[in-house]
Protein backbone atom coordinates (compact mmCIF):
# COMPACT_ATOMS: atom_id res chain seq x y z
CA UNK A 1 0.00 0.00 0.00
CA UNK A 2 1.05 3.28 -0.82
CA UNK A 3 1.04 6.30 1.44
CA UNK A 4 -2.05 8.02 -0.06
CA UNK A 5 -4.19 4.88 0.34
CA UNK A 6 -3.08 4.61 3.92
CA UNK A 7 -3.80 8.33 4.57
CA UNK A 8 -7.24 8.08 2.92
CA UNK A 9 -7.99 4.83 4.77
CA UNK A 10 -7.10 6.50 8.07
CA UNK A 11 -9.34 9.49 7.41
CA UNK A 12 -11.99 9.91 10.05
CA UNK A 13 -15.31 11.08 8.63
CA UNK A 14 -16.13 12.77 11.97
CA UNK A 15 -13.23 15.00 11.75
CA UNK A 16 -13.59 18.41 9.96
CA UNK A 17 -10.24 18.05 8.30
CA UNK A 18 -7.44 15.60 7.86
CA UNK A 19 -5.33 14.90 10.98
CA UNK A 20 -2.15 15.50 8.99
CA UNK A 21 -2.92 18.08 6.41
CA UNK A 22 -3.92 21.67 7.51
CA UNK A 23 -6.88 23.50 6.33
CA UNK A 24 -6.52 25.42 3.08
CA UNK A 25 -7.01 28.67 4.92
CA UNK A 26 -4.26 27.81 7.31
CA UNK A 27 -2.03 27.05 4.40
CA UNK A 28 -2.87 30.34 2.75
CA UNK A 29 -2.49 32.44 5.85
CA UNK A 30 0.43 30.51 6.97
CA UNK A 31 2.05 30.93 3.59
CA UNK A 32 1.34 34.62 3.53
CA UNK A 33 2.61 35.00 7.04
CA UNK A 34 5.71 33.07 6.08
CA UNK A 35 6.18 35.31 3.03
CA UNK A 36 5.78 38.40 5.20
CA UNK A 37 8.18 37.06 7.77
CA UNK A 38 10.76 35.98 5.20
CA UNK A 39 10.37 39.28 3.37
CA UNK A 40 10.86 41.18 6.61
CA UNK A 41 13.80 38.97 7.48
CA UNK A 42 15.24 39.54 4.02
CA UNK A 43 14.67 43.27 4.18
CA UNK A 44 15.68 43.96 7.76
CA UNK A 45 17.69 40.99 9.00
CA UNK A 46 19.79 40.16 5.96
CA UNK A 47 21.65 43.50 5.75
CA UNK A 48 22.56 43.26 9.43
CA UNK A 49 23.58 39.64 8.99
CA UNK A 50 25.52 40.50 5.82
CA UNK A 51 27.13 43.42 7.60
CA UNK A 52 28.03 41.21 10.55
CA UNK A 53 29.41 38.59 8.18
CA UNK A 54 31.35 41.27 6.32
CA UNK A 55 32.66 42.66 9.60
CA UNK A 56 33.62 39.20 10.72
CA UNK A 57 35.20 38.53 7.37
CA UNK A 58 37.11 41.82 7.67
CA UNK A 59 38.09 40.96 11.20
CA UNK A 60 39.27 37.52 10.18
CA UNK A 61 41.05 39.03 7.22
CA UNK A 62 42.64 41.60 9.50
CA UNK A 63 43.69 38.88 11.87
CA UNK A 64 45.08 36.94 8.96
CA UNK A 65 46.89 40.06 7.76
CA UNK A 66 48.18 40.73 11.27
CA UNK A 67 49.29 37.17 11.55
CA UNK A 68 51.02 37.46 8.19
CA UNK A 69 52.63 40.72 9.26
CA UNK A 70 53.61 39.18 12.60
CA UNK A 71 55.06 36.23 10.84
CA UNK A 72 56.88 38.50 8.44
CA UNK A 73 58.19 40.50 11.42
CA UNK A 74 59.13 37.29 13.15
CA UNK A 75 60.92 36.13 10.01
CA UNK A 76 62.71 39.51 9.84
CA UNK A 77 63.56 39.27 13.52
CA UNK A 78 64.78 35.75 13.00
CA UNK A 79 66.92 36.97 10.14
CA UNK A 80 68.24 39.80 12.33
CA UNK A 81 68.87 37.41 15.19
CA UNK A 82 70.63 35.01 12.88
CA UNK A 83 72.61 37.91 11.49
CA UNK A 84 73.35 39.16 14.98
CA UNK A 85 74.40 35.68 15.99
CA UNK A 86 76.61 35.63 12.95
CA UNK A 87 78.07 39.01 13.96
CA UNK A 88 78.64 37.79 17.51
CA UNK A 89 80.41 34.75 16.20
CA UNK A 90 82.48 36.95 13.89
CA UNK A 91 83.26 39.37 16.71
CA UNK A 92 84.16 36.48 18.96
CA UNK A 93 86.43 35.09 16.28
CA UNK A 94 87.95 38.53 15.73
CA UNK A 95 88.44 39.10 19.46
CA UNK A 96 89.98 35.68 19.85
CA UNK A 97 92.26 36.39 16.92
CA UNK A 98 93.21 39.77 18.42
CA UNK A 99 93.81 38.15 21.79
CA UNK A 100 95.94 35.47 20.17
CA UNK A 101 97.89 38.13 18.29
CA UNK A 102 98.39 40.22 21.42
CA UNK A 103 99.38 37.17 23.43
CA UNK A 104 101.86 36.21 20.73
CA UNK A 105 103.22 39.77 20.67
CA UNK A 106 103.50 39.93 24.47
CA UNK A 107 105.14 36.52 24.52
CA UNK A 108 107.57 37.53 21.83
CA UNK A 109 108.28 40.85 23.50
CA UNK A 110 108.67 39.16 26.87
CA UNK A 111 111.04 36.60 25.43
CA UNK A 112 113.06 39.34 23.78
CA UNK A 113 113.12 41.41 26.99
CA UNK A 114 114.05 38.44 29.14
CA UNK A 115 116.74 37.45 26.67
CA UNK A 116 118.10 41.02 26.76
CA UNK A 117 117.92 41.12 30.56
CA UNK A 118 119.63 37.77 30.86
CA UNK A 119 122.33 38.97 28.49
CA UNK A 120 122.69 42.20 30.47
CA UNK A 121 122.82 40.29 33.77
CA UNK A 122 125.39 37.91 32.36
CA UNK A 123 127.47 40.84 31.12
CA UNK A 124 127.14 42.63 34.45
CA UNK A 125 127.96 39.46 36.34
CA UNK A 126 131.00 38.95 34.14
CA UNK A 127 132.07 42.56 34.71
CA UNK A 128 131.48 42.34 38.44
CA UNK A 129 133.28 39.02 38.61
CA UNK A 130 136.19 40.52 36.75
CA UNK A 131 136.12 43.60 38.99
CA UNK A 132 135.86 41.45 42.11
CA UNK A 133 138.70 39.28 40.88
CA UNK A 134 140.78 42.36 40.20
CA UNK A 135 139.79 43.94 43.53
CA UNK A 136 140.50 40.77 45.46
CA UNK A 137 143.82 40.52 43.64
CA UNK A 138 144.63 44.12 44.56
CA UNK A 139 143.53 43.60 48.14
CA UNK A 140 145.54 40.42 48.33
CA UNK A 141 148.59 42.14 46.92
CA UNK A 142 148.09 45.06 49.31
CA UNK A 143 147.66 42.68 52.25
CA UNK A 144 150.75 40.72 51.23
CA UNK A 145 152.64 43.99 50.87
CA UNK A 146 151.39 45.16 54.27
CA UNK A 147 152.28 41.88 55.94
CA UNK A 148 155.60 41.78 54.15
CA UNK A 149 156.32 45.36 55.15
CA UNK A 150 155.29 44.66 58.73
CA UNK A 151 157.40 41.52 58.79
CA UNK A 152 160.28 43.37 57.19
CA UNK A 153 159.93 46.25 59.67
CA UNK A 154 159.86 43.86 62.61
CA UNK A 155 162.82 41.93 61.23
CA UNK A 156 164.82 45.07 60.59
CA UNK A 157 163.90 46.56 63.96
CA UNK A 158 165.02 43.36 65.67
CA UNK A 159 168.24 43.36 63.68
CA UNK A 160 169.06 46.96 64.64
CA UNK A 161 171.15 46.58 67.75
CA UNK A 162 172.77 49.53 69.49
CA UNK A 163 175.98 49.19 67.57
CA UNK A 164 174.14 49.26 64.24
CA UNK A 165 172.09 52.25 65.41
CA UNK A 166 175.29 54.10 66.28
CA UNK A 167 176.75 53.21 62.91
CA UNK A 168 173.68 54.55 61.16
CA UNK A 169 173.92 57.84 63.09
CA UNK A 170 177.62 58.18 62.46
CA UNK A 171 177.10 57.23 58.83
CA UNK A 172 174.49 59.97 58.48
CA UNK A 173 176.77 62.56 60.07
CA UNK A 174 179.64 61.55 57.86
CA UNK A 175 177.51 61.56 54.74
CA UNK A 176 175.99 64.98 55.50
CA UNK A 177 179.35 66.39 56.45
CA UNK A 178 180.84 65.16 53.21
CA UNK A 179 178.02 66.44 51.07
CA UNK A 180 179.60 69.85 50.59
Amino acid sequence: MNLSVILIAAEDPTQSHHWLFPEIGEIIYGGLASIVIFTALYKFGWPAAAKALAARTAKIQKELDDSAAARQQADADAVNIRKALGDVAGERTRLLADADAQAAAILSEGRARITAEVAELEARAATETQAARSRIGDELRAEIARLSAAATTDTVRAALDDRTQQELVDGFIAKVGASR
Binding site: A149, T153, V156, L160, Q165, L168, V169, G171, V176, G177
Partner: protein, 175 residues
Protein backbone atom coordinates in the same frame (compact mmCIF):
# COMPACT_ATOMS: atom_id res chain seq x y z
CA UNK B 1 142.85 83.51 67.02
CA UNK B 2 145.18 80.56 67.67
CA UNK B 3 148.10 82.28 65.94
CA UNK B 4 147.51 85.40 67.99
CA UNK B 5 147.38 83.35 71.17
CA UNK B 6 150.56 81.49 70.24
CA UNK B 7 152.37 84.74 69.44
CA UNK B 8 151.20 86.26 72.72
CA UNK B 9 152.42 83.29 74.73
CA UNK B 10 155.75 83.19 72.86
CA UNK B 11 156.32 86.88 73.37
CA UNK B 12 155.54 86.64 77.07
CA UNK B 13 157.62 83.47 77.57
CA UNK B 14 160.56 84.90 75.69
CA UNK B 15 160.48 88.06 77.81
CA UNK B 16 160.22 86.05 81.04
CA UNK B 17 163.03 83.71 79.98
CA UNK B 18 165.16 86.68 78.93
CA UNK B 19 164.52 88.41 82.23
CA UNK B 20 165.74 85.25 83.97
CA UNK B 21 168.65 84.92 81.54
CA UNK B 22 167.45 81.42 80.66
CA UNK B 23 166.27 81.66 77.08
CA UNK B 24 168.44 78.84 75.76
CA UNK B 25 167.54 76.47 78.56
CA UNK B 26 163.85 77.32 78.57
CA UNK B 27 163.36 77.03 74.81
CA UNK B 28 165.18 73.70 74.79
CA UNK B 29 163.17 72.32 77.69
CA UNK B 30 159.91 73.61 76.25
CA UNK B 31 160.84 71.98 72.96
CA UNK B 32 161.46 68.61 74.62
CA UNK B 33 158.35 68.91 76.72
CA UNK B 34 156.34 69.62 73.57
CA UNK B 35 157.72 66.52 71.85
CA UNK B 36 156.90 64.42 74.91
CA UNK B 37 153.43 65.94 74.94
CA UNK B 38 152.99 65.00 71.25
CA UNK B 39 154.25 61.45 71.58
CA UNK B 40 152.77 60.51 74.95
CA UNK B 41 149.03 59.95 74.74
CA UNK B 42 148.69 59.52 78.50
CA UNK B 43 150.44 62.80 79.24
CA UNK B 44 148.43 64.59 76.58
CA UNK B 45 145.09 63.33 77.84
CA UNK B 46 145.98 64.00 81.49
CA UNK B 47 147.03 67.60 80.89
CA UNK B 48 144.08 68.23 78.55
CA UNK B 49 141.47 66.56 80.75
CA UNK B 50 139.05 69.33 81.67
CA UNK B 51 137.43 67.11 84.30
CA UNK B 52 140.65 67.22 86.34
CA UNK B 53 141.08 70.34 88.48
CA UNK B 54 143.61 72.78 87.10
CA UNK B 55 145.81 72.66 90.19
CA UNK B 56 145.92 68.88 89.86
CA UNK B 57 147.08 69.16 86.27
CA UNK B 58 149.62 71.79 87.19
CA UNK B 59 150.86 69.41 89.87
CA UNK B 60 151.45 66.80 87.17
CA UNK B 61 153.61 69.28 85.26
CA UNK B 62 155.55 70.16 88.37
CA UNK B 63 156.08 66.49 89.23
CA UNK B 64 157.13 65.76 85.66
CA UNK B 65 159.63 68.60 85.37
CA UNK B 66 160.44 69.35 88.99
CA UNK B 67 164.13 69.01 89.71
CA UNK B 68 164.89 68.27 86.05
CA UNK B 69 163.91 71.51 84.38
CA UNK B 70 164.46 75.17 84.95
CA UNK B 71 161.89 76.71 87.27
CA UNK B 72 160.89 79.18 84.56
CA UNK B 73 160.07 76.29 82.24
CA UNK B 74 157.93 74.67 84.91
CA UNK B 75 156.07 77.91 85.55
CA UNK B 76 155.48 78.57 81.84
CA UNK B 77 154.20 75.06 81.27
CA UNK B 78 151.94 75.45 84.32
CA UNK B 79 150.73 78.72 82.85
CA UNK B 80 149.55 76.93 79.70
CA UNK B 81 147.78 74.31 81.79
CA UNK B 82 146.23 76.96 84.02
CA UNK B 83 144.85 78.97 81.12
CA UNK B 84 143.46 75.83 79.49
CA UNK B 85 145.74 76.21 76.46
CA UNK B 86 148.02 73.23 76.96
CA UNK B 87 146.97 71.98 73.52
CA UNK B 88 148.96 74.90 72.11
CA UNK B 89 152.16 73.63 73.73
CA UNK B 90 153.76 72.18 70.56
CA UNK B 91 153.07 75.31 68.55
CA UNK B 92 154.18 77.59 71.37
CA UNK B 93 157.38 75.61 71.96
CA UNK B 94 158.26 75.53 68.25
CA UNK B 95 157.60 79.25 67.91
CA UNK B 96 159.65 79.94 71.04
CA UNK B 97 162.56 77.93 69.66
CA UNK B 98 162.30 79.81 66.39
CA UNK B 99 162.16 83.16 68.16
CA UNK B 100 165.14 82.32 70.36
CA UNK B 101 167.09 81.03 67.35
CA UNK B 102 166.35 84.09 65.25
CA UNK B 103 167.55 86.29 68.11
CA UNK B 104 170.92 84.56 67.77
CA UNK B 105 170.81 84.53 63.95
CA UNK B 106 170.36 80.76 63.98
CA UNK B 107 168.23 78.47 61.91
CA UNK B 108 166.38 75.66 63.69
CA UNK B 109 167.49 72.18 62.66
CA UNK B 110 165.14 69.49 63.88
CA UNK B 111 166.66 66.05 63.82
CA UNK B 112 164.71 62.90 64.52
CA UNK B 113 166.58 59.86 65.70
CA UNK B 114 165.63 56.40 66.86
CA UNK B 115 168.11 56.60 69.69
CA UNK B 116 169.38 59.26 72.04
CA UNK B 117 172.44 61.03 70.62
CA UNK B 118 175.51 61.72 72.68
CA UNK B 119 176.72 65.28 73.09
CA UNK B 120 179.65 64.48 70.82
CA UNK B 121 177.31 63.16 68.15
CA UNK B 122 175.11 66.26 68.46
CA UNK B 123 178.14 68.50 68.06
CA UNK B 124 179.38 66.62 65.01
CA UNK B 125 175.87 66.53 63.60
CA UNK B 126 175.39 70.27 64.08
CA UNK B 127 178.72 70.91 62.42
CA UNK B 128 177.92 68.60 59.51
CA UNK B 129 174.49 70.12 58.99
CA UNK B 130 175.89 73.64 59.16
CA UNK B 131 178.46 72.68 56.60
CA UNK B 132 175.86 71.06 54.38
CA UNK B 133 173.33 73.89 54.55
CA UNK B 134 175.69 76.80 54.94
CA UNK B 135 173.71 78.04 57.93
CA UNK B 136 174.38 78.46 61.61
CA UNK B 137 172.05 76.08 63.35
CA UNK B 138 170.21 75.58 66.59
CA UNK B 139 170.06 71.78 66.72
CA UNK B 140 167.04 70.13 68.23
CA UNK B 141 167.12 66.36 68.50
CA UNK B 142 163.89 64.43 68.94
CA UNK B 143 163.96 60.75 69.84
CA UNK B 144 161.36 59.15 67.62
CA UNK B 145 161.08 55.32 67.61
CA UNK B 146 159.11 55.50 64.36
CA UNK B 147 162.32 56.39 62.59
CA UNK B 148 163.53 52.82 63.41
CA UNK B 149 167.12 53.70 62.58
CA UNK B 150 169.24 56.50 61.11
CA UNK B 151 168.36 60.18 61.14
CA UNK B 152 166.17 62.70 59.38
CA UNK B 153 167.08 66.37 59.60
CA UNK B 154 164.81 69.27 58.71
CA UNK B 155 166.36 72.68 58.23
CA UNK B 156 163.81 75.16 57.02
CA UNK B 157 162.33 73.63 53.89
CA UNK B 158 165.24 71.28 53.38
CA UNK B 159 164.91 67.67 54.52
CA UNK B 160 167.82 65.25 54.69
CA UNK B 161 166.38 61.80 55.21
CA UNK B 162 168.46 58.70 55.74
CA UNK B 163 166.18 56.72 58.01
CA UNK B 164 165.43 53.03 57.98
CA UNK B 165 161.74 53.96 58.03
CA UNK B 166 162.03 55.78 54.72
CA UNK B 167 164.01 52.95 53.16
CA UNK B 168 161.41 50.45 54.29
CA UNK B 169 158.67 52.68 52.87
CA UNK B 170 160.51 52.71 49.57
CA UNK B 171 160.76 48.92 49.61
CA UNK B 172 157.12 48.70 50.59
CA UNK B 173 156.08 50.87 47.67
CA UNK B 174 157.71 48.39 45.31
CA UNK B 175 155.43 45.54 46.46
Amino acid sequence: MTTQQVNAYVSAMFDIASANDAVAVVEDEMFRLARAFESNEGLRSSLSDATLPIDRRQKIVEQLLGGKANNVTVQLASLLVGTGHIALLPQVADALVKRASSEKQLEVAEVRSAIELSDAQKARLAEALSKATGKKLNLKVVVDPNVIGGLVATVGDEVIDDTVRTRLDQVKSRF
